[in-house]
């Protein structure tokens, strides 16, 4: 008899809330971060509505400040950072390397509880009045002057940070020790490589953010501190500590997406990945270089010009491993047998949007141009191309790629393709006008603006509405597929990789026998295939 799949192996509440099964924990994360995504999206919606008109009709400055803080904090710390690692990484990583579970299953569950506890504090801070510092918490505003719930919010982010740290630690130990026999480092799927690189940032960066927020909270509580210049402190010190984590945090968001894309492209081009070693190495290179570029957020903050020059140089260097990836994906597509299924459309969208985000990043890495567009909508547009156009497209691509594995059901590919296209169009209409607005000089974080910016703002708000619809469609057809979707076989995409060798959904132990690996990944031969 076939063993029960993980979804049916225990149906009590405690079999979910006390589970140590990485697959169930992945699903717990899926529900939690989807919840936070819509909270952050709600704040964005209100902001875009406010910006329809030049004057403040819907909200005034104070509320607007709280809205963009709520949007930033929720999306960065409670959606983007845990998105792919904690949902897809948790679910797929052990399956990909032929393991039963993570190295430390109980710590994995603890990570989720820490995440929820952090989310509870963050939500409390928002409900009890909100925070108006922006997600960047710049001192001394955050540490002295702001009259909002800064400490509650900081506590939430600190606790959620420990969730990141334990997740990273678990991934590293799992990848090192639990690979199936024969699965050498050079045979690892590229998604595993990208999770490894991401984990390095989790464990090296997060503690520094934790400590800088602790120092902010202490300075607020006791009125003594190292950031407030009136007390002999230095606000730039906070910016250095904050960006030492928060710049690499962008790579926490984008690296896993790149890993997902590296899985999807060869599968739907039916071709081996081009330049496997370079793609794997470039993930590590991005993770390491990412720690040397934080000062590019501070070009106009008053740091030394010479520091600025070095940070500028290193920021340009990040383009090399990023470009290596893009060219390798394109080379993989070249002469491939391309199937435009839903995951593939998301992956192709990722390549285009990430490229725009990356190239505008190079413009910002140039000292002179950055002085012109610093703190304008150009910056907003740039990092949304990376964090939404890149990271979220990759996340949705991954959800659609592994959905049959996770649920055992196939969704409607037609509606999948519709949603991918709607998201792509809505995204560009939202954020491309913001490049123009920023270049024309519209500053970020203001609830009102001069009337000549209205046309572009209306376009952007219209785009945001389309984007919102694009994000809602998958909720409908994915939920529908749970009951009415056709049953998926073990390998609906005829993909390579160990996760496709076990049942969909997998049994609790993942594999009925330990898999043996005798070859590298992505053994696609350009064959014609019929998907399930």
């Amino acid at each position: 008899m076939e063993p029960l799949d993980y979804l049916h192996d225990g149906d009590t509440v405690s079999s979910w809330l006390l589970t140590t099964d990485h697959k169930r924990i992945g699903l717990l994360y899926l529900f939690s971060i989807t919840f936070f995504f819509f909270i952050g999206g709600f704040a964005a919606l209100l902001m875009r509505l406010e910006l329809l008109t030049p004057a403040g009709h819907l909200v005034q400055a104070e509320t607007y400040n709280k809205l963009f803080t709520m949007h930033g904090v929720t999306m960065v710390f409670f959606f983007l950072i845990p998105s792919i690692p904690s949902v897809l990484g948790n679910f797929i990583l052990p399956l990909m390397i032929g393991a039963d579970d993570m190295a430390f299953p109980r710590m994995n569950l603890l990570s989720w509880y820490l995440f929820m506890a952090g989310g509870f504090f963050a939500l409390s801070a928002m409900i009890l009045g909100g925070v108006d510092t922006g997600w960047t918490f710049y001192a001394p505003y955050s540490s002295v002057y702001s009259n909002t719930r800064v400490i509650t919010m900081a506590v939430g982010i600190i606790i959620a940070g420990f969730s990141s740290i334990f997740t990273g630690l678990n991934f590293i130990a799992t990848i090192h020790r639990l690979r199936a026999p024969g699965l050498t480092w050079s045979r690892l799927p590229l998604f595993v490589w990208s999770l490894y690189a991401t984990s390095l940032i989790f464990v090296l960066g997060t503690p520094v953010l934790t400590m800088s927020l602790v120092l902010i909270a202490l300075e607020r509580l006791f009125g003594i501190g190292v950031f407030n210049p009136a007390l002999g402190g230095d606000p730039l010190l906070f910016q250095h500590l904050f960006w030492f984590y928060s710049h690499p945090a962008v790579y926490i968001m984008i690296l896993p997406s790149m890993g997902v894309v590296s899985e999807i492209i060869p599968c739907f081009a039916r071709k081996r990945i081009f330049g496997y070693g370079f793609i794997a190495g470039s993930s590590l290179a991005i993770a390491l270089l990412g720690f040397l570029v934080w000062g590019h957020h501070m070009f106009v903050s008053g740091q030394s010009l010479y520091a600025g020059l070095v940070f500028s140089l290193f920021s340009f260097l990040v383009a090399i491993p990023s470009g290596v990836k893009v060219f390798n994906w394109i080379a993989t597509l070249h002469k491939g047998r391309i199937y435009l299924r839903t995951p593939m459309i998301y992956a192709l969208g990722f390549i285009g949007l990430f490229t725009i985000g990356g190239l505008t990043g190079l413009m910002l890495a140039a000292l002179g141009l950055d002085a012109h567009v610093h703190d304008t909508y150009f910056i907003i547009a740039h990092f949304h191309y990376i964090m939404v156009g890149g990271a979220v497209m990759g996340y949705l691509g991954g959800i659609h790629f592994w959905w049959p594995k996770i649920t055992g059901r196939l969704y409607s590919d037609f509606w999948g393709r519709v949603s991918a296209v709607v998201v792509f169009i809505g995204f560009n209409l939202t954020f491309f006008p913001q490049f123009l607005l920023g270049y024309l000089g519209m500053p970020r974080r203001f609830y009102h603006y001069p009337p000549e910016f209205q046309v572009l703002n209306v376009l952007s708000t219209a785009g945001a509405s389309i984007l919102g619809v694009g994000y809602l469609i998958p909720l409908v057809y994915l939920a529908w597929s749970l009951k009415y979707g056709r049953k998926a076989g073990p390998n609906p995409w005829k993909a390579t990789g160990l996760e496709w060798t076990t049942a969909s959904p997998p049994p609790k132990e993942n594999f009925t026998q330990i898999p043996l690996v005798d070859s590298g990944p992505y053994r696609y031969e350009g064959e014609e295939v019929a998907f399930d």
């Binding site: 052990p94 393991a99 039963d100 579970d101 993570m102 190295a103 430390f104 299953p105 740290i165 990273g168 630690l169 678990n170 590293i172 130990a173 799992t174 090192h176 020790r177 639990l178 464990v203 090296l204 960066g205 997060t206 503690p207 520094v208 934790t210 400590m211 800088s212 120092l215 202490l218 006791f222 009125g223 003594i224 501190g225 190292v226 007390l231 002999g232 402190g233 230095d234 010190l237 250095h240 500590l241 030492f244 132990e509 330990i514």
Partner: protein
């Protein structure tokens, strides 16, 4: 978890499980380095800017107590290393005794540290409204020095408390062990943590006690 015969899931053999525990602990210590690292950066930055004030304030900490405490902590690392050795040899009674000794030394460190804190507070060196410092011209940066002193040694003391609790759990397990349970890896991992706290103190000691004016 520590049944001598079989590995617990998801591991397939004992050595794999031991290796994972070791890797996990080393990665955790890396995060600790970054955690303290942020504070070290703040200290060295301020020490660079307020060089004279830090030298003056450094003269107000108790070098004798600090040095004594350093010796106590180093000694506890020795007894901890011996405890790990006993655990690997399967000598549970020796393990128990050495853990107890380590905990006594760790507690002595915390007691001496508490004594120092009490004295500093009595002398008005606790940063905040009651902070008093002569010469008054250096009071602001000297307050920063003592702020960092309390934050960093306080964080270190919190780590000591966690370490003591950890060793207590291990000691209870060693007491109840009857030779069938392998405590080698749990002891080794706890030992790594204990030595790490020791190493942090080796850096804190010169920063707060040996940086003093002449």
């Amino acid at each position: 978890m520590t049944d001598a015969s079989a590995a617990s899931p998801p591991f397939t053999d004992r050595e794999q499980q031991r290796e994972a525990a070791r890797i996990g602990m080393w990665v955790f210590l890396t995060t600790e380095v970054m955690f303290f690292g942020a504070l070290f950066l703040v200290y060295f930055y301020d020490q660079h800017i307020f060089h004279d004030a830090f030298a003056s304030a450094g003269g107000r900490t108790d070098l004798g107590l600090g040095a004594g405490n350093t010796a106590v902590l180093l000694l506890s690392s020795l007894t901890m290393a011996l405890a790990v050795r006993a655990a690997k040899q399967g000598r549970d009674r020796a393990l128990f005794g050495r853990l107890l000794l380590t905990m006594i030394l760790g507690s002595a460190f915390l007691a001496l540290k508490g004594l120092e804190y009490a004295r500093h507070i009595h002398e008005g060196l606790l940063p905040g409204a009651s902070f008093v410092y002569e010469p008054a011209a250096l009071a602001r940066p000297a307050e920063l020095f003592f702020y960092l002193y309390f934050v960093m040694t306080g964080l270190h003391a919190v780590h000591m408390l966690v370490g003591l609790a950890w060793l207590a759990v291990l000691a209870v397990r060693a007491r109840g062990a009857d030779g069938r349970v392998d405590l080698g890896t749990p002891a080794e991992v706890a030992g790594l943590y204990w030595h790490f706290i020791d190493v942090v103190w080796i850096f804190l000691f010169p920063m707060f006690y040996l940086v003093r004016g002449h």
